[in-house]
Structures are given as structure tokens and as C-alpha cells.
Amino acid sequence: MVRDRNESDSPMHAPPLDQERLGAPDAQYDAPFSEFYKNFMPSLVRFLLWNRVPLADAAEIGQETMAQLYRLWPTVTDKRAWARKVASRRWVRRIADDHREQLVDSDDLARSTLITSDKIHDYEQHQELLCLLDTLPPRQRQVLAWTYDGYTPAEIAQELQIDPATVRANLLKARRAAARHMRGDQR
């Protein structure tokens, strides 16, 4: 398991709302943001996919989250954890919207300008994983996504503000379900 995390373990500070209205940060931040974007954007989309967000929505939400992070770049300390939490919240808000709920059923890939259609078959090779994740409750998917992005149960508990024991229990249940799925047991 590759630990997909920022080196900094400093706590994430929620930036003041007013800073979102400040526009782009100083141009000196463009280079570090660009590097971060290229390295982390696929991980963020993957994180959302593991939460069973359709690919087009994952790309859109990832892009929106990165745009927000760019505006707040100097003020966010743990950028990866921040991006995961903000992206998750964006998805929750999106599925809570009645209009969006209808779109969620169809993964219209053309909605995102980021997705290059000629490589889409690579993504489709993960149908088995996605089918397995579909069978899991949202909380187990959430814990799995954080776990395989390199977070420990204690860290996940801190980020999601839940009990570490709950994290471990959900993780175990997810692994058991996965093992049964791999054996073809649909119980």
C-alpha cells in the first residue's frame, strides 16, 4: 500500500470564508500548485471512485475542489486531506440535490472535459472492483478509500470525526465482504 499523503502531519486549518473571494493567489504559487495538481488529481478522482462517485462526477468534483484549493493555496496546510474532505462534501451536496440525483444514474462521460475518451477502456477494466464497492455500505466504502490512500484508522477517525473503533469495525466488515465476493459468495 503506497502511502498517498502529504509529508506534513500538521492539522488542517479551515480557511476563513472571505479568502475564497480573494481570487487567485500570488503567481509565485502557480508552480507548486501545478506540480501538486498533476501529482494528486488522479489520486483525488480515484478516492471519489472508491466512494462510488461516477467517473464524470468524480472528475468534475475533483476539478472544482482543486480550483477552490488553488484560491486558498497559501492558507491550507494539509492540502491532500483538505481536498479529500471537501470533495466528499461536494459529492454529498450533489447527491442531495434532486436534479443532480437523476444524473447520477447515468455516468455521462462527456460532461467532463478532463476525460479523454480513447483511454476510457482502461477505467472499465476496474468494473469488478466497482461492482464490489457497489455492494458495500457508504461508510465502509469511505473507510476503504481513506485506508488505501494511506491513512491509519486513527487518522481516518480524526478526519471523519468518528470513533476509531468504528473505523476499524467498518474496515473489517469491508474486507470480509470483499473476501466473500472474491470467492463468489453473494451472501
Binding site: Y37, P42, T116
Partner: protein, 390 residues
């Protein structure tokens, strides 16, 4: 990754061995890694990155434009003339802002053209004095002053005429006193006085030429105002000359070369002080003109760093009424000579359009310049050739 909690369902315990869980972990980790690689291929990261950076810079461009555009001038050009001075509620704190507001108030500009021209002249003179003080060269100072005064000699007419005559007389007396007391050895002092006297008299002579025009417009209220201003200035000058007389009296008492050197030092400083007071006073008048308030705060005005382009801009403000709405201005008694206007974009009071057109010379691009300013109704014949409409 080792589970720390036992499953609650006893049947699940039998299903899973540690090897099975390890296999699940391995499979998940592999899927996780493969999906990351695939997504790198699927996602057009360059497009996404440019989208974010461009959006940020686009937002910044909006902020920059707000600083680059003269929004006050733009707004003033759109709003009707009735709102002139409406933006003056914000306190003024720089000359550029003041000029912007003056520019946006064409009616006030037209009524107070002489004030703008006087301020331009005084700033020119002040700049020349400050320049001379910087170089310490009396001849340079005299030359710069001469140039500055020459530029304005036609406009200041009667006001400067009276003032210069008084000045010449006092200078005459000063020169006579210097000669009487055998201070001719001080060649610089006498030469400076003589040169100034000659210049003053030549200016007075030149200004005499324009007196005919001034007297022809004796009913013009501007004359009264100019005379009043000239009198006020003459009083200021008299005060300065009284100081000079005191110094001359000191000379009479037989003081030495050090005193003469002191006089030469004090003279430009005295001139600068007077000129600074005049500029500050005139800027205060402009502020009152725009704000319609009885008092004006000019404490922010830094007279040591007035931009050299300000006098030119003031003269433009006094003359340029292209695209100005002047329908509400009572033109009676106003000095309009030199006003530039457009037949298509300048709006005069209906009753005055005909005689203004008759008193104007056509220029390029539909622009007219008022060359003679007879009383309303005096000339009713359109000038020839008729300019091409734009």
C-alpha cells in the same frame, strides 16, 4: 493492516482465514494502484490545470481593470449634467483625483475657466522657482520665469498689466536706490533688477496690445473678477515689496556684502512662498467649486511634487469642452475665447448655439474653437467654410 475488532456475526469468523484477508488486502492494494495509473491516462490533467490557472488569472484581470479604468470619468460621461459634483461626497486627498472631478464637471469648468488658467500659470511659476532654487542659478530662474510668464501673458491681460506696472515702478526705485548708494559694484544684483524691470515693461507693453479686446468687452463680468484678482495679487506683491524695502533700508544703513548675499538668498524663497500660497489658495477654490462646500481642506497638497503635466492638463480642462453638456450653463459674461467644442457632441443652451457657432472657427474633425466672444445675439452669421459634420 490487522483488524482489532472481532466480527459480531459468528458465521463470518468461519469464512475468513488470515490468508484470505491478506489476499483481499493485496487485491485491494493492486486495484488501488492500477486505478491510479489508469486515471493518469484517462484524465487530461494539462487541460484541467490550465482551466484553473486561467480562471484565477481571469478573476485577477477583473480586479486589475478596476484600478486601470477611470471609472469616475466613465460614470460622469454617462450620467446627466445635473449630477455634476455628486461624487464629491468622498473627501479629496490628491491632485489627480481633484482634476478628475473637475473634468467630470464641465459646467463648473466653463464658469471657472480663469481659475483653472491661473492655477496652471502659478504652478508653472512655482515649478520654475523650485527649479531655480535647486540649481541656485539666478539667470536660469529668470529665464524659466520669463518663459512661464510669456505662456500666460495673453490670458492674464489686465490683471498682470496693473501688477507688472506697480512692480516695475518699485523695481525702478530699488535700482535707483542701489545706484544712489553706489552699489553698482554688485553687478549681479543690479543686472538682475534691471533685467527684471526690462522684462516686466516688455510684458506690460505686450499686454497692452490685448487691452483693446478687453475694453471692447467692458460689460464682461470677467473683467471685474480679473481686476479684483489683480488687486488682491497687487496687495500680496506690495507686502513682498515692503519686505524688499526693509532689506533695501538695511542696505542703506551700510551693511556689508553678507547682507547683499542674504538678500539674493531670500528673494527667491520669498517668491516661492508667495507662489505656494497662491497655488494652495487656488486649489482650495477648485475644491469648493466641485464640492459646493464653504470650506476646503488642502492640507494633503504637496507643493514640492506637483507633476509637470498638471498645468497642461489644467489648460486642457479650461479649453476642452468636446462632448460636454453645457445646456444648464448661463453663458452671460463668461470668457469663452479659446474654448474647443464639437458641433456633434457639445451641447450648448438652445438660445446660445447660433451666436457661438458664428463666433467660432472650424477646425478638423468637426471641432470648433471660439475665437471671438461677442455678446449673445451680436453675430448671427454662420462662419465660412461650413465644417463637415462628423
Amino acid at each position: 493492516m490487522t483488524p482489532t475488532h472481532e466480527p459480531h456475526n459468528p458465521t463470518e469468523r468461519d469464512d475468513l482465514s488470515p490468508e484470505a484477508l491478506a489476499e483481499v488486502d493485496t487485491w485491494f492494494a493492486q486495484q488501488h494502484q492500477d486505478m491510479g495509473v489508469d486515471l493518469t491516462d484517462i484524465l487530461d490533467l494539462n487541460t484541467g490545470l490550465h482551466e484553473i490557472l486561467l480562471a484565477g488569472r481571469h478573476r485577477d484581470t477583473g480586479v486589475d481593470l478596476a484600478g486601470m479604468l477611470d471609472l469616475n470619468a466613465g460614470l460622469a460621461a454617462i450620467l446627466p449634467a445635473a449630477t455634476e459634483g455628486g461624487a464629491a461626497s468622498t473627501p479629496l486627498n490628491n491632485l489627480d483625483d481633484l482634476l478628475g472631478r473637475v473634468e467630470a464637471a464641465p459646467a463648473a469648468r466653463l464658469i471657472n475657466r480663469d481659475q483653472l488658467q491661473e492655477l496652471a500659470s502659478d504652478i508653472d511659476i512655482l515649478n520654475a522657482l523650485q527649479h531655480a532654487a535647486g540649481t541656485g542659478n539666478v539667470r536660469v530662474r529668470a529665464r524659466d520665469l520669463d518663459r512661464a510668464l510669456n505662456r500666460e501673458r495673453v490670458r492674464t491681460r489686465e490683471r498682470l498689466l496693473a501688477e507688472l506696472r506697480d512692480h516695475a515702478l518699485d523695481l525702478d526705485r530699488a535700482v535707483a536706490r542701489a545706484l544712489d548708494h553706489d552699489y553698482s559694484r554688485d553687478g549681479d544684483l543690479v543686472a538682475a533688477f534691471t533685467s527684471a524691470r526690462t522684462r516686466a515693461l516688455s510684458l506690460a507693453e505686450a499686454l497692452n496690445d490685448s487691452r483693446t479686446l478687453v475694453f471692447a468687452r467692458a460689460q464682461d463680468m470677467v473683467l471685474d473678477r480679473s481686476i479684483a484678482l489683480a488687486q488682491a495679487r497687487a496687495r500680496d506683491l506690495a507686502l513682498a515689496l515692503a519686505c524688499a524695502r526693509d532689506l533695501a533700508r538695511d542696505l542703506d544703513l551700510g551693511l556689508n556684502d553678507k547682507v547683499r548675499a542674504r538678500i539674493l538668498t531670500l528673494a527667491p524663497a520669498l517668491s516661492s512662498t508667495m507662489c505656494e500660497a497662491a497655488v494652495r489658495s487656488e486649489v482650495g477654490i477648485l475644491i469648493r467649486m466641485i464640492s459646493q462646500e464653504p470650506s476646503a481642506d488642502t492640507s494633503w497638497l504637496n507643493l514640492t511634487i506637483i507633476d509637470a503635466v498638471v498645468p497642461g492638463r489644467l489648460r486642457d480642462l479650461a479649453d476642452d469642452f468636446i462632448a460636454a453638456d453645457l445646456r444648464r450653463v448661463n453663458l452671460t459674461g463668461l470668457d469663452l475665447i479659446g474654448v474647443r467644442w464639437s458641433r456633434t457632441t457639445t451641447r450648448w443652451p438652445d438660445a446660445d448655439e447660433e451666436w457661438i457657432l458664428a463666433a467660432s472657427e472650424p477646425g478638423p474633425c468637426g471641432i470648433y474653437i471660439i475665437r471671438a466672444a461677442p455678446a449673445p445675439g451680436g453675430l448671427m452669421v454662420a462662419p465660412s467654410p461650413t465644417p463637415v459634420e462628423v
